[in-house]
Subunit: 207 residues, 2 copies
Amino acid sequence: LNRIKASGLKLRFCTNETQATREKFVKKLQGLGFDISVAEVTAPAPAACRILKERGLRPHLLVHNDLLPEFAELDKANPNCVVIGDAAENFTYANLNKAFRVLIGMEKPVLISLGRGRYYKETDGLKLDVGAYMKALEYACDVEAEVVGKPARPFFESALAEMGVPPQQAIMIGDDIVNDVGGAQQCGMRAVQVRTGKYRSVHILHP
Amino acid sequence: LNRIKASGLKLRFCTNETQATREKFVKKLQGLGFDISVAEVTAPAPAACRILKERGLRPHLLVHNDLLPEFAELDKANPNCVVIGDAAENFTYANLNKAFRVLIGMEKPVLISLGRGRYYKETDGLKLDVGAYMKALEYACDVEAEVVGKPARPFFESALAEMGVPPQQAIMIGDDIVNDVGGAQQCGMRAVQVRTGKYRSVHILHP
């Protein structure tokens, strides 16, 4: 990372983190010794905020409490869309019904999902991720969610736009074969998979 | 109903009720003046019990508390499948993760759903129905649920088998164009839609 920065190459950190603000995310990585600032991070919540502002949408939020500050500036009165993230403990029966009622009350429901993950692991076991709850609302309202985050194309495109770099001049580096490598390639970028983190050798195709 | 019974025609009541036992369901209808007994009712929970017994399945139950007595006789230790019904307040984040972990821990996950409804109305507003939560687990585990209840074909077939009547000699009467009329027709039965309950004139096709 330090060598990339020293070389003068442009750099963005693309994360699907939706359980914390960019501030908290950056502090964690700084604590691990990484040279990173909030302005260098592309994350689903601020990307969603941009979309909401552009389209004059007022969100009903079903997200993690720690993510709420990312949406502080937006008008949330009389909502005309639902934004769902990995809300964790906020995924209660009452909150799911609330989000559903906002959607079903709209002539053309708008559901924006901060990712489409199936599940993830925590110290106390596997947990359902935002994608599962997104599917529940999609089915109930007969609507397709707009996914913000990796591997969605607009997410990579906004990172590229922020750097002012065309896709064919950019390289994505990540550990996730679908979200990082696949998403970037779909966007016209080249991609490198690191052999750490989620890397599994079975994902390599042997000719 | 009294005239059908007096005529000597065979009769079954087919319900998708999964928030109460057949006993409670029958008492409610008796209270409204209907001549009905538990033995005349085909409902998802007992139909699921039959399937579980036939296939040696031990269920992890994610259902309404009032439905639990229907599963009293089954072995539920060391579960090898998940049965989901309209669990209402039991649809907590913790319970959904529990059911998910049972499924994802199986080599070939078996998910049995007592219906596929999207939502329904109660006095305090619209609620997500079992189908939405079924979709969440299906997506997270990359599995397709086996649906027990109307409009699934095996459900009508078991009602017919209980009466000992072939489909072409049976008529389904109901208010739901998809679950009652469509499901029965798929099964080779004729069907009559009543103009009460869920009936909406927009569902009629004008040639």
